[in-house]
Amino acid sequence: MADDRVVGIDLGTTNSLVAYMGTGPTLAHPDEPGKGVFIIPGEDGSNLVPSVVALDHDNHMLVGNAAREVLLTQPERAVYSVKRLMGRGVDDVQEELKLFPFRLAEDLAPGEVLRIQLGERSYTPPEISAQILRQLKRNAERFFGAAVKQAVITVPAYFNDAQRQATKDAGRIAGLEVLRLVNEPTAASLAYGLDRKQNGTIAVYDFGGGTFDISILKLQDGIFEVIATNGDTHLGGDDIDNLLIAVAVADIAGDLGLDARQHPDLVQRLRRAVIEAKIALSSRPAAELEVELPDGRLYQRTITREMFEQMIEPIVERTLEPCRQALKDAELTVAQVDEVVLVGGSTRIPLVRRRVEELFGREPHSELNPDEVVALGAAVQAKILAGGSAETKDMLLLDVTPLSLGIEALGGVTAKIIHRNSTIPASATEHFTTGVEGQISVAIHVLQGEREMAKDCRSLARFDLKGIPPMPAGLPRIEVRFLIDANGILHVSAREQRSGKESEIQVQPSYGLTDEQVENMILDSFDNAERDLAERQLIEARNEAETILTALAKGRHNPAWTMLNFSEQRKVDELESRLRLALGGTDYNPIRRWIDELNQATMHLAELMMDAAVGSALRGKNMDSTDVGEGPAAPHPIGKAEFS
């Protein structure tokens, strides 16, 4: 069991978490054996790992709180909210670039996967996300004291194919087998459903750091069937922060005559200040903004809740239309929704709660911590996939695809082949033929989205069906099967039916990494991991060498030294100088070797010292100053000598 722990990961825009569902009593539920779903804390004891990646002065990757500190002092060496860039092309992110200090690599070719400049290298969004995932993996491994290789990772329900694929790639790069991508609101419903086994219709309103989702589910005897989902993958608490920053920047320009945009570190300090104010405003009627400017002056401003609500009203309003659309798609009225559940940090804002309550006509639930509920649900799904337990026995998640799948038809029109809100896995078979005599390939453009024209939909891939046997126009019959798997990721296969020939398909994803690129990135991270390991081993070997050399220096002053014969003393002298020589190098192997040899050579000395210590103890002397260990059982006496 120790080797196949499957963890649940919430890879969030602002914060990420890793959770686990155990079968025995746990930290979170010490008194309830078998009821343990819990968040695995990081080294610093906190459940939330900020989704920030930064480089320290030695060009080491930092993740989480440590990276957030770098963001404040050297914003150019840190990346945050990278989730907004997952699975997107340069053209998609122009709006984002105005608001977020992403520094794209300068040598980006058109159509290439985005790369973000960080220090001397550039990284794709999946690589940055992989750093966060690797940190969560390490946290889990430290917690269990065993390797963690498999995970369930959550994604916004409204993520498209490219964004999902990018998330899966990130998992692979981090050395995790992603058993399933689960939609965030659906995961939340699992966490809620664990305690309350009941039937009915629930709406999950998930307003997080960077994304908004609404999902409507039907719960029946443990089956969680998503009826409809909708959302906006670029709408979240981030947008509220940006709004407040813009206000502060305008203030500073107007009242203090300073262009804050010229000072990236000031913008980051403002960002932290507005986030604190935003959080404070959820429980207090007013909050203070106070930020020191680079010239020492102080920017101060009071924000009342009333002002705050006025400002953010349009953002909150943007979440309501997807809710109405989801209800419409589900063919339900608000009265038919039995429960509403709030998920995501932004649902702590009182205005958000009021608007949701008004829309659904009932008070929403928020018993579970809105920051943690998605990760907890991911852990439940991980448990289900890992074989389940008594509590998950009857639980099954039936999710849907959030966006319609289509292909470009004549005239640039989208022909929908799998409609949105279809339960996944889902498939469609389409037939294609040629338009010209002897034509041996057919081009297919796969799209995702609801718009009527292909150019307004998201382009997933263009591919050529090749190797069609030459035939008169219209005669070949090529069957292409589109299958959306349980992760919401599309698979395509094709065959020419007339000749029975398997068509060769070349797929060029419009955005996304090729398998080969991902493989290289995995190797890359292994190289890094190996380098990291070598470094750590060098440090450990050096520490150990220092310990033994110190002990030896003390041993030379011990009367026991004179009891060694000349050749023993010579041998120790020689090994000591060899070890000191090896210490000047950077390879831990020779250091280890001379430590071992020196250990062997000083064995006799250690025994003599031990005898002397035991002897003096027997004579009633105080052992404190000469104690060399716990007695004869001490594993290495000379090593222990430093205790004296």
């Binding site: 279809s422 698979h491 398909i505």
Partner: protein
């Protein structure tokens, strides 16, 4: 998006040959989706949606029963159940579950169920299908539609109203007229539902001529729905 090889994906096209329903795992029982003896999922093969649920090709369906069956099959076939199984079983589970979902989606909706049955019976419905209409609209092509005789006069009057709306906007009077027309159309749609159910009964009773009636109802229905949509757009 990923590419998959149909062979590897476990999608065996059987070329009309009927597979021997013997469990690949225990070899014992006659098995369709999974073995009744050992519970293992069986390879997916092309099947019609009625047959997938073990139903006769009949149109009057017990909705609640279909849902129960869908849930019961989901519990046994879903990829979640096979996440620790062999790659082969995972592929079969994926195929089977997509068939299950496609079948359930098609059969649970009365209209798509009727259209599907007509397709199975070799009747091409493309002319008035929703997709064909959508495509023609998006491409800006006027799709050839035969106006049902009973609707000729009404359609003509409505087109005048819609022209008027396009030219001069929708004033209060026009709005009222459009609403009244829409209410009339909606009432007609409702009676069509009854006509369709009557045709179902005939079909289920063994009357193969009922298909012509169903095609007729679906045609008129789709024409009516387009009119309603045009009104909704004008009123927006």
């Amino acid at each position: 998006m990923e590419l998959s090889d149909p062979q590897k994906a476990g999608l065996q096209v059987m070329n009309g040959k009927h597979r021997d329903h013997r469990c690949w795992s225990c070899g014992d029982m006659r098995a369709e989706h999974f073995c009744a003896a050992c519970g293992h999922v069986q390879p997916a093969e092309p099947t019609d949606y009625f047959a997938f649920f073990g139903l006769p090709r009949k149109l009057e369906l017990d909705d609640a029963g279909l849902e129960r069956e869908f849930y019961a099959l989901s519990r046994k076939l879903h990829p979640d159940v096979y996440s620790l199984a062999s790659a082969r079983e995972q592929a079969w589970s994926l195929e089977k579950t997509s068939q299950l979902n496609d079948a359930y989606r098609t059969l649970k909706d009365p209209l798509s169920r009727t259209e599907y049955l007509l397709r199975l019976e070799g009747i091409q419905l493309d002319e008035q299908s929703k997709t064909a209409t959508e495509q023609a609209r998006a491409a800006g092509v006027d799709k050839k539609q035969t106006v049902p005789a009973e609707l000729l006069e009404e359609a003509f009057e409505l087109n005048m109203l819609l022209e008027e709306a396009k030219m001069g906007g929708v004033d209060k009077e026009l709005r009222a007229q459009l609403r009244a027309t829409r209410a009339g159309l909606m009432a007609r749609l409702k009676t069509m539902q009854d006509e369709l159910h009557a045709a179902w009964k005939q079909w289920d009773g063994g009357d193969r001529e009922a298909t012509a009636q169903m095609v007729d109802v679906l045609n008129r229905r789709s024409y009516l729905r387009n009119l309603v949509r045009d009104i909704n757009e004008a009123l927006d």
